[in-house]
Amino acid sequence: MQKIGVFVCHCGTNIAATVDVKAVAEALKGEPGVVFSTDYQYMCSEAGQNLIKNSIKEYGLTGVVVCSCSPRMHEQTFRKAAQSAGINPYMVEIANIREQCSWIHKDIWSATEKAIILGKAAVAKVQLNAPLTAGESPVVKRALVIGGGIAGIQTALDIAEAGFEVDIVEKQPTIGGKMTQIDKTFPTLDCAACILTPKMVDCAQNEKIKIYSYSEVADVKGFVGNFTVKIKKKARYVDEDKCTGCGICTEKCPVKNVPNEFNMGMDNRRAIYIPFAQAVPKVATIDANYCNMLKNGKCGVCSKFCTVGAIDYKQQDTIVEEKYGAIVVATGFNPIKLDDFDEFAYSQSKDVITSLEFERLTNAAGPTSGTLLRPSDGKHPHTIVFVQCVGSRDTSGCGKTYCSKICCMYTAKHAMLTREKYPDTDVYVFYIDVRTPGKNFDEFYRRAVEEYGVHYIKGMVGKVVPRSDGTLMVQASDLLSNEQLHINADLVVLAAAIEPDKSARSLATMLTASMDTNDFFTEAHPKLRPVESPTAGIFLSGVCQGPKDIPETVSQASAAAAKVIGLLAKDKLTCNPCVAQANELMCNGCSSCEKVCPYGAITYSDKEFRMPDRTTAIRRVASVNEAVCQGCGACTVACPSGAMDLKGFSNSQIMAEVDAICK
């Protein structure tokens, strides 16, 4: 039997005005186990806490019930007080007689009666409380960053800077991501490669950073502080350690007709390739879908020309297993496919392009060496139409319901740069709204209009029709002049919506991290914990969490790194002690609990049991990993044999509360 002390708080008049606190204290005196009961003005005050501490010592209390405000308010306060008086902090229970009693009832009689019942329920629960100790789990001081775009690079560099080891897993042959394909960045117009490639090189040279390029995450096990990750290194048929990146193979390869994804398929590369000149790691990769040697064993040219013998046609996918304390998701985005937008004639005409394709057409390393030429006939376009919100803010099902955020600014950039380089071109931008919230963003957009004479027209393009003379008829509405416009354009550029990378969904399943309906990762709190996933130890960086421009991505990447560093700096993590516990004697190993656990905290093992007849039997039983379990209790209900229980909220404790309330 516990020795319980009851402390009823007046909370000034907050409670005392509608609840007869003395009557509550008096009524609870007669409850089983209660050896001391009193009331006090402010229980949370220094003096109130001392009253609790002294009573614990004086009466040798083993359990404490405080009838006061919500446990969300002062549970910690009273637990600490109890702990300092030498009893386990989890032997304290709170009866919420303020928010859930005195504040919502006017009638003293019924409020007092309810307060007594709530107090009795708390006493009944404390009777069954057991001391709990928070477990500890060690932290592996190494982080994994999934995705090697600007977000992943920044996060990795920041973590490495703090002295921790970081691995980057990138599925492409090189790190750098989408930013490598961009020509200039708004609003300062500095060249993307000039600011990105030094960071890529830093990654490669940093001793703390290891880059797994052309690799994917195959499996994730474990929990915060202790993840075990399997990384699949896809066969690139080139020995990374031997290859010097000289590029002879990429010139000699006879397969010349492979669409070059770096230039959005607007020119061709060879079957063995280095994505671009500044690639990191600068290592060739053989595209198995096109290589003659891999397809039918006839060729081997690259191997003959390779001076260091790096080509290895027999290379296989390999799996590397590593342990990490924290995982950062930085999987980024892709522009959506425009197959459902027939009205813009994207698939009918080569001269209808996406903004990312336009980016390549104006890039010095692009297919036209930076001269803006029409993809169809290589002529200089004189009239260019930009269409915004293609697939963004679309609830009809063809596109995405959200605003892709970056399109207004990059379209202003494209329009401005075109007018600057080719003043003889007419540039039209069709917009629904121009959204430019950001430092120097609106000024930038206004400059495009005022200084560069870009025609901004409020209205949407209804259709684009390719004509026999090679031009494109653009039919659009001008809402301000209430006219329907027909423009003969040479080039139409579509600002396609962006969506999370396709790999994100399967990754989220492996990480047990949650996603929204658009496949963006959800943050632990939209305002206060924006870079953490609700799953402990998983952090978010960049567009995988929501559309972002480069400055925002970089700030979020650094914020994620700061959170990771905070985690890795700890030697041990304290766990929530209110976790599930399996009674091995009752467990029948059915796996029901494992299936409902959202955290993968339950595992099974074969254990030896001594039977009543002194023989031993081996049975499969569940065990809960206390560091992973978050204490939701889903398993306790799923368990058919009643073996699973939740510490701090056990079946018997809740039943006792139910009994006390229904008495």
């Binding site: 063809c398 039919q475 509405s477 209430n482 329907q484």
Partner: protein, 128 residues
């Protein structure tokens, strides 16, 4: 009928939620009868939503709409302007309480070059 009642009636007949419109004008951009119409599809949506219905009721535009549904097809917010225009038309015809077209008129109207859909569409437009 009160102005507000009329707005409700039109919204009810059409089943359109005009508030979904984000004023992009793609309906009018795609409209093949644009030049013929005094008020354009996007204006119908806006004017019905803001309760400014009288000018629409007395405008010829309600009969100029081809009911081709291009605007419905293209609308990124799934507003369905053509249904709204048709509802305005119906509101007018119901108030006049007469059919402008009778079944008996049909054989006369039939013409090899006339698409059948035009007849169906005309029936929708001119009968209550």
């Amino acid at each position: 009928m009160q102005k507000q009642d009329k707005q409700e009636l039109i919204l009810r007949i059409s089943g359109v939620n005009a508030r979904k419109c984000m004023r992009c004008g793609k309906c009018s951009a795609t409209c093949p009868a644009y030049d013929e119409m005094e008020y354009h599809p996007h204006q119908f949506v806006y004017m019905v939503e803001s309760g400014n219905i009288e000018p629409l009721l007395s405008s010829d535009s309600i009969y100029k709409c081809l009911t081709c549904f291009a605007c419905v097809e293209r609308c990124p917010r799934d507003v369905q302007p053509a249904k709204l225009i048709e509802a305005v038309r119906l509101a007018v015809i119901r108030e006049q309480d007469k059919n402008h077209m009778k079944k008996g008129d049909l054989p006369e109207l039939l013409d090899e070059d006339l698409p059948q859909q035009a007849i169906v569409s005309a029936f929708r437009k001119y009968t209550k």
